[in-house]
Subunit: 336 residues, 2 copies
DNA sequence: CTGTTAGCGCATTCAG
DNA sequence: CTGAATGCGCTAACAG
C-alpha cells in the first residue's frame, strides 16, 4: 500500500504537501496540486484511516444499535432506517457500524466501541425505558442520539415521531366510523413508544366519554406472533371489540392471519389498524389502514443530529416528527 | 482517555507490560498481571483501536455490501443475514460495517474502504453477474466473500444455496400435484441466483417432456411490485398457468395481492409458490409453500469464510447449502 | 507557498 | 520475566 511518502516522491514534493492536497488546504499552488493529484491517481493512493484516526482522535464512524435480535428481524422499519442514515452519512465521510444489543449483553459493550475509538458517536434505536446504558452514555458525555425514545431523567438529543398524535389520528378515525368498543394491542411495553400510544389510547377513550375496559387490552411485543395471539385473545372476549388498534403493522399482519384461521372477516366483522406503514402494509388483504412515519425524514434528522452531536454543535435537540393517517381498507363501520 | 502509559504508571510497571497483559502474552508474572488488570479496571482503560490498527495493519472490521437500496428494503433475508454475521464476528473481536452500493456508485467506492484500511475484508451480497467490482477486488487480491453468487471467471470463496436443487424441489412437487402449465417469475435476471433458477426451470420442463412456453415467463426484480405485475400478466395469458413459481416470497406476496384484486382464488384457481421462506411466508393468506434457505447456516458459513480469507487460511472455498421444501397451503391440484 | 519536527497509542524487536 | 528503542501513516505547529 502506497503512503504519502510514496506519492510525495513521485510528485517530487514533501509528503506534507501531499497531506495538504488531500485535506484541501488552500495553501498549495494549482500546479503542484495537480502534480500531486496525478501521482495519487497513478499510485491509486488512499489515505490510511487508522493513521488519521490516531492523530485526529476521530474515527469518522458512527454505530447504530438495535435493542435485540428479534426486534431487528421483524422491523423492516429498522432496515430502511439503516440505509437512510448510511446514505446521509457517507457524503460526510462517515461509515456506519451495525450493532446489536442482545438482552444479556453488558452495558460495557456499548461504551466499549466508543472508548476504543471505533466510533465517534452512537445511534440508539428504541432503547428500553430506564436503560442503564443510556445513563452511562450520558454520564460519560458520549455523543449519542436516540431514535424512537425520549429523555427521561438524562438529557440527550432524540428523534421521535409524535406517537400520541398518531394514536389520536387512528382513534378518531375509528370513532368517526362509529366504533365504540376498540381493542388495543401494545408493542413492547418497556419502550417509550409503546407507553405513549397506550396512554393516548386511554386518554382518547376518556375524552370521548368511553369506559376503559382492560379486557380489551393486550400487551404484545411487536412481533407477528404476538399480533396473532392478541387477535385470538381479543376476539374471544364476551363483548368483542368492533375495532382493534395494533401498535405496529407487523402485529396487524399477524392478526389478519389469525382472523383467517378463525373465520373472522376483516373489516366486516372487526376493523383493524396498524402503525408504521411499512411496505407490506399496502399488500396485505385487506390493505392496512395505518399511520405513516416518514422514515426518510427520520433518517435525515438522525444523521443530522448525530453529526452535530459529534461536532459538539449546540445543545441537545428534541425532534418530533408528524405522523400521517393512511386510510386503506381494513376498517369499516361497525355492524352492530 | 487513559492510555497504556497511564495504566503503567498506576500499576508501577512499564507500558510494555501493560501491552503484554492486554494481548495475553504469557510472559508476565501472575502478580504483576493482576496489578495491571486492577489498574486497567480502575482507569476503565480501553485499548485504542486506531493505534492498534495502525501498527498491526488490521482494522478488525468487516464490511457487508448490498447491491442496491431497493433490494435491501424488500429483503428481510438481508437483515437477518446481517445479524447472523454480526453475532458471529463479534466474539472474534470484529465489527461489522454496513454498506450499500447504489447503482451509480463507482467500483472505486467499494475498494476504498479497503485501501483506507477501514475494513479487513468484505462480504458481497448477490452481486450482479459480470460485476466490475468483483473483478477489481479479485485482481487486487482483497479478501472478500460472496453470498448468493458464484465465481465466473475470477476465483473467490462464496456461500450459496443450491438454487437448482431448490427449484427442482418446487417443480417436482408441482408436477406431483398434477400441474403441467407452470408459470415462472424470475428475480433480477442480472444475478446468478435468478439465472440458476430459470435454467433449472427450463431443464425440469424438458426432463418432464413439457414444452417451454415463453409467454409463461415473467422477468421480475424481486420486488413486491414486480410480483404483483407478474401475476396480472400471467393470469391474462390465453392459456393461463395452473401454477406459478415465484423466485422469492416477496414477489409471491405481491401476487397474492394481485389475485385478490382480480378475484382469482389461490390456490383454487392458481397455485403459487415462493422461495426463501421469510418470516412472513407463514403469515400470508394462504400461507406460502416455499423453499427454505437456512439463514443461520448461511451467516455461519459466511462469517467463517471471511475470517479465514482475511487470515489467509487455505484456498478458496465454495459452499453450497441445501435448501428444503416447505409445504403450506398455497398449492393444490389443478382443477382442469 | 512549502518543508521540518514532533507525537498520536500501540506492538515488535532487541537488551537486560 | 521486564524495559527501552523504533516506527506504523498521518497531521498540527512551526520554520523558512
Amino acid at each position: 500500500m502506497p503512503s504519502q511518502q510514496d506519492v510525495a516522491k513521485l510528485a517530487k514534493v514533501s509528503f506534507m504537501t501531499v497531506s495538504r492536497v488531500i485535506n484541501n488546504n488552500p495553501n498549495v499552488t494549482k500546479a503542484t496540486r495537480e502534480r500531486v493529484l496525478k501521482a495519487i491517481k497513478e499510485l491509486s493512493y488512499y489515505p490510511n484511516a487508522a493513521a488519521r484516526a490516531l492523530n485526529s482522535n476521530k474515527s469518522r464512524n458512527v454505530g447504530i444499535i438495535f435493542p435485540r435480535k428479534d426486534y431487528f428481524f421483524v422491523a423492516p422499519f429498522c432496515m430502511e432506517l439503516c440505509f437512510e442514515v448510511e446514505s446521509r452519512l457517507k457524503p460526510k465521510g462517515y461509515n456506519l457500524f451495525l450493532g446489536s444489543m442482545t438482552k444479556g449483553s453488558e452495558s460495557r459493550e456499548l461504551t466499549a466501541m466508543f472508548r476504543e475509538g471505533k466510533v465517534d458517536g452512537l445511534i440508539l434505536f428504541a432503547p428500553r425505558i430506564g436503560e442503564e446504558e443510556i445513563k452511562m452514555l450520558a454520564d460519560d458525555h458520549m455523543p449519542f442520539v436516540v431514535v424512537h425514545g425520549r429523555s427521561a431523567g438524562k438529557e440527550f438529543s432524540y428523534v421521535d415521531s409524535d406517537n400520541a398524535k398518531g394514536t389520536s389520528l387512528i382513534l378518531r378515525y375509528l370513532f368517526d366510523l362509529g366504533h365504540r368498543r376498540i381493542g388495543f394491542v401494545s408493542g413492547d411495553i418497556g419502550e417509550m413508544n409503546s407507553m405513549d400510544r397506550y396512554r393516548r389510547y386511554r386518554r382518547e377513550l376518556k375524552a370521548k366519554g368511553l369506559p376503559f375496559d382492560k379486557r380489551l387490552v393486550f400487551f404484545g411485543d411487536w412481533s407477528l406472533e404476538s399480533g396473532h395471539a392478541a387477535f385470538r385473545y381479543l376476539i374471544e372476549q364476551k363483548e368483542r371489540p368492533t375495532a382493534i388498534f395494533f401498535s405496529n403493522d407487523q402485529m396487524a399482519i399477524g392478526a389478519i392471519k389469525a382472523a383467517e384461521e378463525l373465520g373472522v372477516r376483516i373489516p366486516d366483522d372487526v376493523s383493524i389498524t396498524g402503525y408504521d406503514d411499512i411496505k407490506y402494509a399496502s399488500f396485505t388483504v385487506p390493505a392496512l389502514t395505518t399511520v405513516r412515519q416518514n422514515i426518510g425524514a427520520v433518517g435525515d434528522k438522525v444523521a443530522e443530529l448525530i453529526l452535530d452531536t459529534i461536532e459538539g454543535k449546540g445543545e441537545f435537540r428534541k425532534i418530533i416528527l408528524e405522523p400521517e393517517l393512511v386510510v386503506r381498507s381494513s376498517c369499516c363501520r361497525p355492524v352492530d
